[in-house]
Symmetry: C2
Subunit: 185 residues, 2 copies
Amino acid sequence: MSRPSKRARTSDALVQAALDLFEQQGYEATTVGEIARAAGVTEMTFFRHFPAKEQVLLDDPYDPGLIAAIGAQPLDDPPFLRAARGVRGAWRALPEPEAPVIRRRVRLIAATPALRGAMWRSTGNTEAAIVGQLVDDGAPVEVARVAAAAVLAALVTGLYTWAESASTSLADAIERALDVIEVRA
Amino acid sequence: MSRPSKRARTSDALVQAALDLFEQQGYEATTVGEIARAAGVTEMTFFRHFPAKEQVLLDDPYDPGLIAAIGAQPLDDPPFLRAARGVRGAWRALPEPEAPVIRRRVRLIAATPALRGAMWRSTGNTEAAIVGQLVDDGAPVEVARVAAAAVLAALVTGLYTWAESASTSLADAIERALDVIEVRA
DNA sequence: CCCAAAATGTTAGCTGCTAACATTTGACCA
DNA sequence: TGGTCAAATGTTAGCAGCTAACATTTTGGG
């Protein structure tokens, strides 16, 4: 039952300081040096914890649950629908306690063009994983790529409107975003 | 019938030099200074023509034809389908003479993570225009946003696979990408 | 041909980010 | 408890992207 390692504590301090400063003065107006100083640490140390300024807001953990949920969709459905419904299922099953923190982060990202770009690039892992699953299940690569990209785009957009809106539940927002894409004729 | 203005000539020289250097040594390994020198000009001048290094590859002209094509889709269809079919129609009508240049650019973008992010951010104008059209035609904003994002994601992904593939026609590639998304139940 | 405006050059500086080396701090064990 | 080795941090130096302010040249139209 040791207290969190020093590394973890520093990381947290940096993330907190960054969130506060970004919200106060905006992302671009905030210097990595400022963040570091506010966290009681050096600029160099910041970059030892995060490879780039943006990464203090964007960690994109590869999510095995999501991939499994997609794999569990009926193989007869077109890849696009399998991906969409898989994402839907995975998020429905997700706990929402961290919602407030997520909202702060997403709100900042949505409001900063540079971060929107970074966000998109940072979904690379997830996108690759989805493509992998779809291809394993027999979809052609080009098809899988488009399906993954479109579904993730919908998901991210849903996140943005959720973050900006006042009080909706995260799961509901995701569901509504996916409804837009899963058109039933 | 005056020859192209000096500004235009310098811009072209910069774009050409950038394309060549990027292909030879990669995007990140190429310096703005190098590009400028290869174009017979100063680094400062580069930034007077393009606000950022990426922008030498990514100009995103707002496309009125595309918006019109979306507006022309049946109002009864769901926004997502209207956007997808509008994009389909607009690209089908497009001339393909510039395909070789486009391919060089897109190939570079597809191969460079940093540029993929920038590409995504640079579609912002188009995305906003699509959202505007859909909303004007009665769609709720949140719905329009998701529809526009998903369709553009599919389009861009289609562009990427087209650029990497050998000889397909651009229009065909786009069509196939949109086929993935427009699932008919 | 001439001259205002446009295009370019110069210098200086800030911020993000990296490398290489020195120093401190902390966790674990004798 | 005290020591020890590795992890975490600090320092310095430097490059690349990008901006600002001011000086200089070039252009194209009257």
